[in-house]
Each structure stands twice: as C-alpha cells, then as structure tokens.
Symmetry: C2
Subunit: 204 residues, 2 copies
C-alpha cells in the first residue's frame, strides 16, 4: 500500500475558510431559492467568486449540499443525544429518541423549508450523508436495545440486529424527510403510539 | 323525517349503463394519459358524449376517479380477504394481511402505473374512497386482534383501539400509495420484519 501523496501544496487555514465561505453562502442561497433551482454559477455570482474557483474546492453542487446536509444532520444527532442523555431507562431513551427525531424533522420542515428540501433530495437520492445518518441512528437504536437487555428491561430472544432494524423501519416514515412530509399532521401522536407498540414488542 | 322524493324520473338500467360506460372509458383513458393530465372534455371527446351529458352522471372528474378508485380498492380488499380466509391463527392472518397489501400495492405500481397515480392522488387528497379503505383496514386489524385475544394468542392489556391504530400506523407506509412509492424496494422484506415486530408487541 502506498500512502497518497498530495502533489499540490497542502491546504492551509485560508483554503479552509474559503470552503466555509462557500458553504455559508450556499446555505443562505439554497435557503432562499431552493437547492434544486440553484446552479453553481448562481452561487459563484452571489459570492463574487468565479465558478472555476468554487470547483477548486467542491467537485459539484451536490458536494456543497452534502456539507450543508451533514452539518444539519449532525445538529439533529446532537439534539437526539441531548434528549436521551439523562433518561432513566432504556425504554425512556427509545421514547425520547423517537420524539426528538420527529420534532427536529418537523421543525426543519416548518422553519427552514428550503433546507428541508435539500434534506429531502439527500434522502431521495441516498446521498452518503443521509445514508450515514440512517446508519448512526440504527446503531444508536441497537445500543439502547442492548442496554435494555443487559438491565433486564427488554427480551433477549430476537436477534439484536433484527430487532434494531425493525424498530428503525417503524420510525423511518417520521425521520426520512421525503416521507415525513406526508406524516406531519400525525407525527407527534404517531410517535407516542408507535413508541408504546415498540416497547410492547421489546417486553421480556 | 321526510323521505327524499326524486322529481326527475328514476334512473333505470340505461342510466346505469351510461355510468358504466363513462367509468370504463375513463379507466382506459386515465390509464393511458394519467388522471391529473386528463380533463372531462378529453374524456367526453374520447367517448363521443358531450361534456354536459357526462356531467349529468358525475359531478366532477374526481367523482369519476372515485368510482375507479373504489373499484380498485374493493379488488384489493377481496385479495386481502382471500389471503387471510384460511389462515389457521390470528397471528398468521396479520402476517398475510400485511403481505397481501404490500404485494397488491406493488403490483398496482409496477403493472398499472397510471391507475396507481389515481390512487396516489386519492390518498394525498384524502378522497372519501381512500378514507373508507383506511377505515375498513383498521377495522379488519381490530377484528383480527380481537380474535387473537379471544383464543389466547394475544395480550389483552392494551386498549383494543390503541393496539389496532398503532398496527395500522406501522403498515401505512406500505399501504398508502403516496408513501409506498418510496418504500417499494424494501416493501417485501419490511413486511416480514414488521409483521414479526407487531406479533412480538401482541404476545401475552
């Protein structure tokens, strides 16, 4: 195996801040005009950079969208982790996880509609950021089930990955932005009803 | 209470057959060109009736769509009832119900795409036919749970309507055509995994 050697000069803080500048401007611009309607040329014009200069930092519009999407999904994961951090039981963690996810998704939909649209494109087209988010959530669910099995709250017969995946599938229509938009009206009551069903399915 | 007296002559078999003719032609026409793109004028031209004549039998394009939709949903309910009729247990009935619904929905999507689109419009806009179908399914789920409770297969602590509604919510993303289109790839494996989760939630 050979280590990849970069023949161009290493990117320093200046490059880093150009990337940030592009992402900030794109967040603003996509937020106003929508992701799908904005081109890299539009962005370049708005920021005052040349299109070629932007392409030195990002391969495509999607690459910029990916950064915005990853940032937003990281925020959602922070909200989720904060919500479950001091839950007294594994059962309560699952309830709070489901509630926090539907609330964060609905908030994004109602207060940041254009950024919600990027998230919807990311989910529809399975962008790496969206797929990684799904995987993180599935792992978090698995971890909570494991915790509940270890302290005797949950049954231990069902294969762990099967139980975690099925629970993720129950939650998905309220997490995935493409689907959440059809479930917004019922999302908060559904999260309560479905959490109870999930917990009944986990009872020893 | 007064009985409603029809001042126009009672509609006989001839009228009935005109309605059928319009519905048949509309099924054909919507099937080719799509529901949303077709107008009542297009239909009238295609059938060789005047637009005014069609309006004697149907209040709107949606009223025609409703008949087509109801017919299709009645077919789906027949498939479901046939699938569960000889199931030996209530648990097996739930499994078959879920499987039959996802299969019938996927079939419609892949083999009758334009009619699927009417079903999607009906679900999106909550047409009475779609709402009635949802209600029938919810009642069928309730009936199966009750059967399973009576013969000792299922737990009896959860309020019956809560259990039935939660199970319906688990199934909905694979039944509702607007949502099923995002779940097609995973629908058949999801139906198996989620049936098992539902049955775990019902265990005494």
């Amino acid at each position: 195996m050979t280590k990849h050697i970069n023949t161009t000069p290493a990117r320093g803080p200046a490059d880093h801040s150009v990337r940030d500048q592009v992402v900030d401007a794109a967040t603003e611009h996509f937020g106003h005009f929508g992701y799908e309607k904005t081109t890299v040329s539009d962005l370049a014009k708005a920021i005052g950079f040349s299109k070629a200069y932007i392409y030195k930092f990002f391969d495509s519009k999607q690459a910029i969208g990916e950064v915005i999407c990853s940032n937003r999904l990281a925020m959602i994961m922070e909200i989720v982790h904060a919500a479950i951090a001091d839950a007294p039981t594994a059962a309560e963690k699952l309830r709070r996880l489901f509630k926090a996810l539907t609330e964060a998704g609905s908030d994004l939909f109602f207060h940041d509609r254009k950024l919600y649209d990027i998230a919807a494109v990311a989910a529809r087209d399975s962008w790496p950021s969206a797929a990684a988010h799904e995987e993180r959530l599935r792992q978090l669910i698995e971890q909570i089930i494991l915790e509940g099995r270890q302290n005797g709250e949950f049954e231990r017969k069902t294969p762990l990955d099967e139980a975690a995946h099925a629970i993720y599938l129950v939650m998905r229509p309220y997490i995935n932005p493409v689907q959440l938009q059809y479930n917004l009206e019922t999302a908060s009551s559904a999260a309560v009803l479905l959490s109870s069903l999930i917990l009944r399915s986990l009872s020893p």
